[in-house]
Symmetry: C2
Subunit: 592 residues, 2 copies
C-alpha cells in the first residue's frame, strides 16, 4: 500500500519561520503560535495518515454505486466522514455564530492539505460542503444562514454546487435549468445538472444543493442567472426534516479517477428552490467564494504531487539496480539503490522542489485571503484575485506532472495498480479541469486580472519581487542562488506583460494565444519568489544558530534546484508568447 506521512515540519517551517504568522497584524493570527499550529496540524496529519490514507485505494477500487436512486460510497467512507465531523474539521473557519471556530483561512488550508494528499476523493465530500456553505455565507439571507449553516458546519448535512449542464460548462450563460416562481415565494426548478461532485450519498441526513438556474423573463446570458438552495429534504421551520424534494441522482459518471467521490447527474423535477441573494444576480455569490475554491484546487494539485513524491522516494531508497557511475557505493549488495543515479535524483528533486514551493505559495495565498477579509485590505484582495488563476492553473498542471514523474521513478511498478502511483496520476488529472479548466484560468488571468486597476495590481506584484530582491541582495549566497535567477525570471514576466500591452491592443489574439504560457511563466516567478523567501528564512535560522542544520541546509539545496532547473522555463514561455498569435490562428477551422 502507498505510504504517506503528513509534512508537518515543512508546514510549520512555512507558517512560522517564513510567514511568522503569529506576529502579523491580521485579526485572529496572534493566537497561531507554533504550539497551536503543531497541535492542529499534528491531529490533521494523524487523521490523514491513519484514517484517510488507508481508504484511498479502497475508494478507487470500489468506487460508488447507484441502486434505485441510492448512492453507496466505498467501504469505510462513512466512518471516516464521522471522524472528520467529530473532530470539527469540516468548516472550522466558519463564523462562531453558526457553530464554527472562526479559524483563519491559512489554518483551514494547511490542516486540509494532508487530508487531501491522503485521500482526495474522500476529502471532496467535506470540501464541497465547505464551498456550498461559503456561497450561502456570501450571498444568503440571515434566515438561510441560520437554517443551513450550523448543520453544514457540523457535517450533519453536506452541500454541493450544481452548475454544469450537458451543453454548458465554462459558458454558464447557456444554462437551461429553469426556476419558476411560486406564490409562496419559492421556485420550482426543472433541468438536468451534470458532474455534481458529492451529489448524492447517504453519509449525511440532508444534502444542500446550490443550484444555478434561470428565472423566465430575465436577461440573457450570465446576467440572467439566479442562485437557489435546493435541499434534498425540505427543512421545516423548527429545523426538522420535511418532505423529500424533487431532486434525484440520475446516474453516476464513470471517470478516470476520484472514483471514491460520487460524480452525479442530478435531475431537478420541479424541485423546490429558495432564492439566494438577488434575482438574476446568482453569479455574484459564486465569484465571492471562487478565490478560495480555486486555491483549494491548486492545493489538491500539489498535494497529490506530495504523496506521489513520497512514494517515489520510498521506492528509490529501496530499489537496487545498477551501479553509481562515480563508483560502486554499496559493494555488499548486488547493486546500488537507484538513488545513486543522477537522472533519478533529477526526477526526485524536480518533484520535491516543486511541491515545497507550491505549498509555500498556497499558504501565502491563504494569508492574502485572510488579510483581504480580516483587515479589509483591498490591495491584498486584488493581489489574491490576480494570483488565483495562477495558483489554480499552474499548481495543478505541475502537480499532475509531479505525479507523472513520481510514477516514472518506479518504472514498470509505477504502471501497476499495486503500487498506487497510477491512482495519484488519475486523481490529480481532474484538478486541471474542474473549477474552471486551466485554459479558462489563463484567460481569466490575461483577459480580466492583468488589466485590473489599470495594471496597478500586476505592477504591485512586480514591486513585491523587486523590493524583496533589493532588501536582500547584500546576502551573497541568497543573491547568487536565488535572487539573481528570480530577477531574470521576473524580467521575462515583465517582458511578456509588455508584449501583451503592445500587441494585445492591436489584436487580442496575440495576447490570448500566449495566455497559457503566461500563466506558467507567472507561476514560476511566483514560486521562485516563494523559494527566495524560504531561503531567506533558512539562512536566518542557520545564522541564528538553529540546531536542526540538516533541515535548513536541505531546504536551501532544494530551493537552489528549483531556481536552477525549474525557473529556466520562463525564457521558453516568453519566446512562445512573443511569437504571437499568427502561428496559432493561421489555419481555417476547416483545414485542421
Amino acid at each position: 500500500m502507498p505510504v504517506f506521512t503528513a509534512p508537518t515540519k515543512d508546514q510549520q517551517f512555512i507558517l512560522h519561520d517564513v510567514l511568522d504568522i503569529s506576529s502579523t497584524d491580521i485579526p485572529g493570527y496572534s493566537d497561531l503560535d507554533r504550539d497551536f499550529t503543531a497541535a492542529i496540524l499534528g491531529e490533521a496529519g494523524r487523521i490523514a495518515e491513519e484514517v484517510l490514507a488507508p481508504l484511498n485505494k479502497v475508494g478507487d477500487e470500489e468506487g460508488c454505486t447507484l441502486e434505485n436512486g441510492v448512492v453507496r460510497v466505498p467501504t469505510g467512507f462513512k466512518d471516516a466522514y464521522d471522524t472528520i465531523c467529530e473532530g470539527g474539521w469540516v468548516a472550522m473557519d466558519a463564523p462562531e455564530e453558526y457553530g464554527g471556530q472562526n479559524m483563519p483561512q491559512i489554518i483551514h488550508t494547511s490542516a486540509m492539505e494532508p487530508m487531501v494528499s491522503a485521500n482526495m476523493a474522500f476529502n471532496m465530500y467535506p470540501g464541497l460542503s465547505h464551498g456550498a456553505m461559503n456561497a450561502i455565507l456570501a450571498a444568503g439571507s440571515e434566515d438561510q444562514k441560520q437554517k443551513y449553516i450550523p448543520k453544514m458546519v457540523t457535517g450533519e448535512w453536506s452541500g454541493t454546487m450544481n452548475l454544469t449542464e450537458p451543453h454548458c460548462g465554462t459558458d454558464l450563460g447557456l444554462i437551461r435549468t429553469k426556476a419558476v416562481p411560486q406564490d409562496d415565494g419559492t421556485y420550482k426548478i426543472s433541468g438536468q445538472k451534470i458532474w455534481i461532485s458529492a451529489g448524492e450519498h447517504e453519509m449525511t441526513d440532508n444534502i444542500i444543493h446550490l443550484v444555478l438556474a434561470k428565472v423566465p423573463g430575465g436577461p440573457d446570458g450570465v446576467k440572467g442567472i439566479s442562485l437557489f438552495i435546493v435541499p434534498k429534504f425540505l427543512v421545516n421551520d423548527d429545523g426538522s426534516l420535511g418532505a423529500r424534494n424533487g431532486v434525484s441522482c440520475g446516474g453516476l459518471e464513470k471517470k478516470m479517477g476520484i472514483h471514491g467521490n460520487a460524480t452525479c447527474v442530478i435531475n431537478h423535477d420541479e424541485s423546490t428552490g429558495y432564492l439566494v441573494g438577488e434575482l438574476h444576480k446568482g453569479m455574484r455569490g459564486m465569484f465571492v467564494m471562487m478565490n478560495e475554491a480555486r486555491l483549494g484546487v491548486g492545493l489538491q494539485g500539489y498535494a497529490q504531487g506530495e504523496v506521489a513524491y513520497q512514494n517515489a522516494l520510498a521506492w528509490a531508497k529501496d530499489r537496487i539496480q545498477g551501479r553509481a557511475v562515480t563508483g560502486v557505493e554499496e559493494p555488499e549488495k548486488a547493486a546500488d539503490t537507484i538513488m545513486v543515479h543522477p537522472d533519478v535524483r533529477r526526477n526526485l528533486m524536480h518533484q520535491k522542489s516543486f511541491t515545497e514551493g507550491a505549498r509555500m505559495l498556497t499558504y501565502w495565498g491563504a494569508m492574502m485571503i485572510d488579510r483581504a477579509h480580516r483587515n479589509q485590505d483591498k490591495e491584498a484582495d486584488d493581489l489574491i484575485s490576480l494570483m488565483t488563476p495562477v495558483i489554480k492553473g499552474f499548481l495543478t498542471d505541475m502537480g499532475f506532472e509531479t505525479t507523472v514523474l513520481a510514477q516514472q521513478t518506479l518504472g514498470g511498478s509505477g504502471f501497476t495498480r499495486e503500487w498506487g502511483l497510477e491512482q495519484f496520476v488519475r486523481d490529480a488529472r481532474i484538478t486541471m479541469i474542474y473549477e474552471g479548466t486551466n485554459g479558462v484560468q489563463s484567460l481569466d488571468l490575461v483577459g480580466r486580472k492583468l488589466p485590473m486597476n489599470g495594471g496597478k495590481t500586476i505592477m504591485g506584484f512586480f514591486d513585491l519581487v523587486k523590493t524583496f530582491i533589493k532588501e536582500n541582495e547584500d546576502h551573497a549566497d541568497l543573491k547568487s542562488g536565488y535572487l539573481d535567477p528570480l530577477k531574470q525570471a521576473s524580467k521575462d514576466l515583465q517582458a511578456a506583460g509588455m508584449y501583451f500591452m503592445a500587441e494585445g491592443m492591436k489584436n487580442p489574439n496575440n495576447a490570448l494565444a500566449g495566455s497559457y504560457d503566461f500563466m506558467h511563466l507567472f507561476g514560476h516567478v511566483a514560486v521562485g519568489l516563494m523559494w527566495a523567501k524560504m531561503a531567506k528564512a533558512a539562512y536566518a535560522a542557520l545564522e541564528n544558530g538553529a540546531s536542526d542544520t540538516e533541515f535548513y541546509e536541505t531546504k536551501l539545496a532544494t530551493g537552489r534546484y528549483y531556481m536552477a532547473r525549474h525557473l529556466p522555463a520562463t525564457s521558453m514561455h516568453l519566446s512562445r508568447i512573443q511569437s504571437g498569435g499568427d502561428t496559432v490562428m493561421a489555419l481555417d477551422a476547416a483545414n485542421f
Copy 2:
C-alpha cells in the same frame, strides 16, 4: 465512441513528397511507388478504422481474465487477430524464405501506425510476435528459424520476450532465472518472469517465449546471460505440436492502461528451453532488435497522440461555448464553436504539429534502418543507433503529453470514460516506461551513443542539419519560418554537447544530470529538421503547381507553429543542462 481516421494522406506526403522513397538506392524501395503504398496504407487504415478501433474501448473495459491457467482476451480480439493474420500483417517484413514478403521496415512501420492508433493494446499481440521473431532471426540457428519463424509470420504462433524479474528490470545482470543444461542439449529453465506482454492467451496454437536466463557457472552480470526459446507446446521435428512445456501464467498484472493486453507473470518450472546463439551471449540478439523495437514504441507514443488529437479536434469543432474575442462568428447559434478561442487553437496546434513531425521522424528512422540493413550502410546504422533513444524517449514523452492536451480540450468530458480520451492517456503512459524507461534511454544516449565513434556520429547529425540549412537558405520563406529557428535550436544542442564534453570529463554527474534534458533538446532539433524537410517539400509542391494547395499550405502553417512554439524549449533544456550536476546531487540520500 471515439473517432479515428487513418492519416493516409499525411503518410503518403512523407513517403513520397518528402522522402521520395521509390527513387532512393535502397534495395526493395524502387517498387514502393505511390500506388503501391496507397494500396497498403489504405488497407491497413481500413482494418484500423473498421476492425480495431471499435474494439479499443471493449478491450479497456473487459480487460483480460485468468481462470485455471487460461487467459481470456477481450471480446472480438480473436476475430480481429484472425483478420490481421489473414491479411499477412503480422510480419510482412520477414524474409521470403520464411514466408514473409521481405517488405522494407518503412512499409511495416507506416502500415502499423494506424493500427496502433486504433488499438494499441491489441496491436501488442502481433507486435510482440514480431519482436520475438526478430530475435530468432538475429541470433537463432537455421534450424530454429525454419522451425519457428514461418508459423510466427502467419500468426499461427505468437511470441513474447521474457526479460524482467521482480527484482530486476533495467539491470538485467541481476537475473536469477536459471537454465540447467541437459544431456540432450536442451536446458531446464526455472524462475519467475514478470510484465510479460501477450504472455499467455488462446488466440494462437502456440506461444514462443524468448527467455533470458543464466546458465550456472557463467560470468557474473550481463555477460553471463543466455537467450532461450521456450515454446508453450514443444514442437516435434515434423512441425507438429508435442507436450505442454513447463511454462505457465501465474497471474495477470492489474495496470493503469493497455487492459486489452495480457500482462503476465510467467513461471518457468523446469521448462524446456533451446539455446539461441552463443552461451552467455544472449544480450547480443536483444541488442540487434532493439533499434527497431524502440522505434516501434516511439511510434506508439505519437500514434496515441494522433488518435487523441483527432478526438479533441472533433470535439472542438462541435462544442459551442463562449464567443470569439474578435467578434461573434456564428450569430445564428447560442455560442461559437470553441475553435474560435486562441487557447483552444494553441492546444490543438501543439498536438497536431507534434504528431505530424513525430511521424516524419519515425519514418525517416525506419528508412535509416532499411539503409543500414539493405545497403550495409555503417553510417546509417550508427545514425539510427544514435537517434533510437531520442525517438523512443522524446516521442513517447511528447506523445503522452499530447494525449493529456487532447483530453484537456474536452474539459470535463475528457475526464469521463464515455469519450475515450482518458483511455488514450492511460494507454500512452506505458510507452514512457517499457522497452527501457525514458530515463534509461537518456543514459543510453548520453553515456553510450554520444561518445560513439569518438563523437563522429553526433557530428554527422550536426552536419546533416548544417548541410540542409546551407543548401536551402536561399529560399526566403523556408529560411525565416524554418531554417533560422532550426539553426538556433541546433546551436543549443551543440552547446549542450560541448558542455558534456568539457564538464562530463571532470565529473560524469554533470553530464548524466543533464541527460534527460539533452534527450528532449535533441528530439526538438530532430523534429525541427524533419519539419524543415517537410516544409521544403510543401513549398516545392506549391511552386510546381500542385492542385491541392490547401493541403500544402496547411502543412506549412502547422510546421511554422512547431518552429515558433515547440522549438523554444531547446533554450530551457540547455539552461538546465548547463546548470550542471551540483543542484541535482546536492542532497545526501538520507536528507530527502
